[in-house]
Amino acid sequence: MLKIRVMEHRPDPSHLESRRLWRAVWIVGLLISGTLAALVLAWAHPEATVWHFLGVTQLVPVFYLCLSVWAAWPLGDEAEE
């Protein structure tokens, strides 16, 4: 009975791999789209320098920081190697 319970809690490697892959796709996608959106919007409105400052030089690096934290965050019951 105990054995069955342990088996139930063991993470499925293929499931974990798939979750990691999706996370990677999301992070790379957000990195590319965030960067492109920031630059294209800045070019579309070259006079909006207050927004360039607040949005691009302040918020985008913080956004990248959040992506880095997400990339390093353990997924579910991912074990320490």
């Binding site: 320098t49 990248y64 390093a72």
Partner: protein, 676 residues
């Protein structure tokens, strides 16, 4: 072991606190700036050297990878210090101030650097930190060599690693020389060799272990210095220390002032005079012999007129010392005219505020910016000395986590530098533009006198007042002028220089170690004696480290021009050489040894070719036209735009044509590629 990082962290903070109290006391005692600066230079170099000596080791595991026991937070701080070079610590503020956000028409603006220098860490943490640590190797070339069981691939990777790091290292040592000479009053060459002593004491004695703990202290110095300076400027100019709010308030004033300056008739007349001079220079460069003769005749006529009028001797000497009369060498004259022409073009393109100029050519400007962001992001994820920091934590998860910590410190510094640039520009536009030349603000007089060339003024329209077009600011070291510009204590100048020195030394330490380890560990063949006694290999690493450091210092004393250009080229080279091969090797099961070699060589060759063919010196020597060599209007430092796709394509083609005969070991030893 967990007590060690906190011990060094507390030491770093106590050292910074003690330094702050000492500086405050010096300020109260009224000591002169050179005395305080000399003290700061000796104090900071001595601190790093003491840490280096305390961490000395000859054990291979300690020397190469700091015993693989550096916790994530500490490794993150060391990575941040390793990453933040003098160019990014002090150069970013000046770059944002002078180029604005969107660039000047051909070159990329400040936004490209802010995004490019931070975005790469997402990829590094996501894609490379875990598998690099899991490989159990000591260097990136060793990891690639082991992955495919190829000594040729390992040596090829070592060569790429040495080239990328060497370019970057010379730039750092050049920066160290500038700062050390500024702080000590010594000559540039002596400054280089004095700071080199500090680097060597640290990395020579203790390798990665000493470098890690030194970088920890340097990270504390870097972050606290930048925050302290930015907050002091915000407090002085806006009365509070909330940096984004203070800078946004300053930005509104910058925009208002820039709009006034833009329509000012005096500014327009200045620009008109600059354009006239530009036309003159274009004619002179087109027919230099005739231009020299005409100029000579004009000067001789003027001199004889002055002599007949008994004019002051100083004025006559000024005309007589003109290069046209004194030398007359056509090649040198054309060089001088070309230099002057590019300065005027730069000044005309420079935005008044931070806005982009609505001129034709918006497409190449955006393309260049996107290309530079691409190169900097992939270059960050491919720089060998940054990748090597993933070997030092105890687990793969800690390696990945350390990248996120590094990002935190880097983001803190960069967002403060961006805010500082706005507040400083507001002061320049309100205090200096419109001031009379005979009644300049006191800080402008001080900066003009400094030998660093932080500020020079040229009254183009001769109206006796300063217009925006008349101002020439020295971007690279402009941040050093911040305390003078906003009238905060001059002690901050010393603090900024100490922060910049920490930035340059920490990066130089990491680069030196990467180069010497690649040479000793990956290029020099391992003999039986080395296998029997691993200490021999460590000694060889140390000797090579010293040789490389001296060679780099020697090259830096020749004062290579255009440092930021070469740093950006190093990023492109690193991206082209390492990013495709690492990504394919670690995540594509069918990547073969030949494919890896093809990816690395073709990426490196493509990037090198593009940089080489688009360098003005090469174009002048080979008689090439930029229209032929410049693809899609992209600058030479954006070579990775071509190098990276070629690397991926060659890796795929090589693996398809020459597949592996047997399953490769893989980083995790399971005969399969890694997972994310």
């Amino acid at each position: 072991m967990s007590a060690v990082p906190s011990r060094w962290l507390i030491t770093g903070m106590l050292v910074t606190l003690a330094l702050g109290i000492l500086l405050w006391l010096f300020d109260l005692l009224g000591l002169s700036a050179p005395v305080i600066n000399g003290f700061l230079l000796i104090f900071s170099i001595a601190t790093y050297a003491v840490i280096g000596m305390a961490c000395r080791t000859t054990q291979p595991e300690e020397y190469y990878v700091a015993g693989r026991r550096i916790p994530a937070f500490t490794n993150g701080m060391a990575t941040a210090a390793d990453w933040m070079s003098a160019a990014s610590f002090i150069g970013l503020t000046g770059l944002l101030m002078s180029e604005g956000y969107l660039g000047d028409g051909t070159r990329a603006g400040g936004l490209a650097y802010v995004l490019g220098w931070t975005g790469g860490f997402c990829l590094l943490g996501l894609l490379f930190a875990r598998p690099i640590h899991a490989s159990g190797a000591i260097t990136i070339p060793q990891m690639l060599g082991d992955l495919f069981g190829s000594i040729g691939l390992r040596r090829c990777a070592a060569l790429g690693s040495i080239i990328c790091s060497a370019i970057y290292l010379v730039a750092q040592i050049y920066g160290i020389g500038l700062i050390a000479s500024m702080l000590s009053g010594l000559t540039f060459e002596l400054g280089v060799f004095m700071a080199l002593g500090g680097i060597l004491l640290c990395s020579f004695l203790g390798g990665m272990r000493a470098v890690t703990w030194t970088q920890l202290v340097q990270c504390v110095v870097l972050v606290l210095t930048m925050l302290a300076v930015a907050m002091a400027v915000a407090w002085k100019t806006k009365g509070h220390v909330v940096l984004p709010v203070a800078a946004a308030q300053a930005m509104a004033q910058v925009n208002e002032r820039a709009a006034q300056i833009d329509v000012d008739p005096l500014e327009q007349s200045t620009r008109e005079m600059m354009r006239i001079r530009l036309d003159e220079l274009n004619h002179k460069i087109a027919d230099p012999v005739q231009a020299r003769d005409q100029e000579r005749e004009r000067l001789l006529r003027q001199i004889s007129l002055l002599k007949s009028e008994n004019a002051p001797l100083r004025d006559i000497h000024r005309l007589e010392s003109s290069p046209v009369l004194r030398d007359g060498d056509i090649h040198r004259l054309v060089n001088a005219w070309t230099r002057e022409r590019s300065q005027i073009i730069d000044a005309l393109r420079r935005p008044i505020g931070f806005e982009g100029r609505a001129e034709p050519g918006a497409y190449p400007r955006l393309a260049n910016t996107l290309a530079l962001v691409f190169c900097l992001i992939l270059g960050t994820a491919g720089l060998p000395h940054i990748l090597a920091r993933s070997f030092t934590p105890p687990t793969a998860r800690q390696a990945q986590l350390s990248v996120a910590w590094a990002m935190l410190f880097i983001v803190l510094v960069y967002i403060s530098a961006s805010a500082l640039a706005v507040m400083l520009k507001q002061s320049v536009l309100t205090d200096l533009v419109g001031a009379r030349l005979d009644a300049l603000p006191d800080w402008a007089d001080k900066l003009k006198l400094r030998k660093l060339g932080l500020l020079s003024l040229h009254d183009w329209n001769g109206d006796g007042t300063v217009q925006w077009g008349d101002i020439q600011l020295g971007n690279d070291l402009l941040m050093l002028a911040a305390p003078d510009i906003v009238h905060i204590s001059p002690l901050f100048t010393g603090l900024i220089a100490v922060g910049a020195l920490a930035a340059a030394l920490s990066t130089a330490d990491g680069l030196l170690l990467t180069i010497s380890n690649s040479l000793a560990h990956d290029i020099v063949p391992t003999g039986e004696a080395d296998q029997a006694n691993p200490l021999r290999r460590v000694m060889l690493s140390k000797i090579l480290l010293m040789v490389v450091a001296l060679l780099a210092a020697l090259v830096a004393t020749y004062r290579p021009v255009d440092i930021l250009f070469w740093v950006a080229c190093a990023f492109s080279l690193a991206a082209s050489t390492f990013f495709p091969v690492l990504l394919l090797s670690l995540y594509w099961r069918r990547m073969s040894r030949t494919g890896a070699l093809c990816a690395m060589w073709s990426g490196m060759a493509m990037a090198t070719y593009y940089i080489f063919m688009n360098h003005p010196w090469v174009q002048a020597r080979l008689g090439l036209s930029p229209d032929l060599t410049n693809w899609w209007g992209l600058e030479a430092y954006s070579a990775a735009v071509f190098g990276v796709p070629i690397g991926f394509l060659a890796g795929w083609v090589g693996s398809a044509l020459w597949p592996s005969a047997y399953p490769r070991p893989g980083a995790n030893g399971a005969g399969r590629a890694n997972t994310l």
